[in-house]
Symmetry: C2
DNA sequence: AAGTCTCCGAACCGTACGGTACGGTTCCCT
DNA sequence: AGGGAACCGTACCGTACGGTTCGGAGACTT
């Protein structure tokens, strides 16, 4: 058994894998291949050629192809950044716009071609390999975002701006109102309608409806 | 070029493909393989062995592997049936329970292992083959359901039970409230929580929130 | 300058799978 | 009964790709 250079099973979710600059360049190339070609376009030989590295280095760095895929997911997850929420609760109005900004950022991430490509990859592999990629994407992506969202909503409740029993439930509703079935349609390859591309408007509409349900 | 026995591009979406009984049995075997093994588990040799048919017949019936996958999707789509809506608008209360029943049926379909497997398959292939499978699933599955839902909501509006401008928008909200992010999490391989498995309760909650937003 | 480490490039191997060809069998039709 | 179509089972071929190995070139250390 070759030395597993990147083993998600033993690495803690919040520990940054710290890829070397050279490795990050290679992972970026892998991401590009993946975005415009799907999984089958990402072959070890193809990546080595594109990134001007040797297959030997790939196997040394990432263990095997699965390790490479996992590394790509982890790398991209580490790139996603959300706006901070400094001073977001100054008054009710700015809090609502802050929530809308959060939702808009969420839509921006989920609808980006990179995110879609990685979701497609993870979903395609979800009934093999004991599903490492799906878990990785959930833990490093969705659950992180969910935690931040719950935190934000709890803040709103503490300030008497929102009213709900369970923050997770409330976030789920906000997510549903914002995403609807657009995500799955995009994953299936349908193009977004012009209205759906106006993320700001979509976010504001969703937050408006959310306030109808959970506003204090 | 072999004769394409099943070409989705030239067949109208509402024309039933009419598979022979023998072919349906084979497609059912293919579906089973797909459900508990993912795409890579569905090989022509494996299917021929499982279904006790020859590879030659597979290629004769479905043209090539893509045609087989398309046939599986079309076959499963033809199997999905929704409850009729006879006398659903007798009075406001039964209409709401009818909507809830529709949503529950929708959840039942989307969260079934067969639907999940086919969605995973289509999504995994969505950036190859000019995306035939995704289109097929959308046209034969989602869009059909969406049309029925819009029809139902329009009926409610005509009877003064609901209030909205665009039926599609309203349906999207209903969908979002019902599905939230459960679908994508299931697609990624996460197991549903006990609460999420209570489809009836989930549907009623979603419809309740929907009425808060769109009830007359 | 010699030694060592890293990495590139290329050749190579094994395997899995899509697709084809062919002989033998069953079943229907006349 | 006889002929033909459909079909099963299997052997076979070509290819694509994951993974390994090896030679050699630069870079860094001492």
């Amino acid at each position: 058994m070759p030395a597993a250079a990147f083993d998600i099973a033993t690495s803690r979710p919040d520990a940054a894998p710290e890829f070397s600059p050279r490795q990050q360049v290679v992972l970026q190339h892998a991401l590009t291949l993946l975005v415009d070609g799907g999984e089958k376009a990402l072959t070890t030989a193809g990546l080595a050629r594109t990134a001007s590295c040797s297959k030997e280095s790939l196997y040394k760095w990432f263990g095997d192809r699965d390790g490479l895929l996992a590394a790509v997911v982890a790398y991209q997850a580490s790139q996603v950044q959300f706006p901070s929420e400094a001073g977001a609760t100054a008054d009710p109005e700015t809090f609502q716009t802050h929530v809308a900004a959060f939702v808009e950022a969420l839509l921006g991430v989920l609808f980006s071609e990179t995110s879609l490509a990685l979701n497609r990859l993870s979903i395609g592999q979800s009934n093999t390999n004991s599903n490492r990629l799906g878990q990785l994407l959930l833990v490093r992506g969705k659950h992180m975002i969910s935690a931040r969202a719950r935190n934000m909503l709890e803040t709103g409740r503490r300030h008497g701006l929102l009213k709900f029993d369970d923050a997770e439930d409330a976030y789920q509703v906000l997510y549903g109102l914002a995403i609807r079935d657009v995500h799955i349609r995009l994953l299936l390859g349908e193009a977004a309608s012009p209205a759906e591309k106006d993320l700001k408007a979509q976010a504001e509409t969703a937050v408006g409806q959310f306030y109808q349900l959970f506003g204090a």
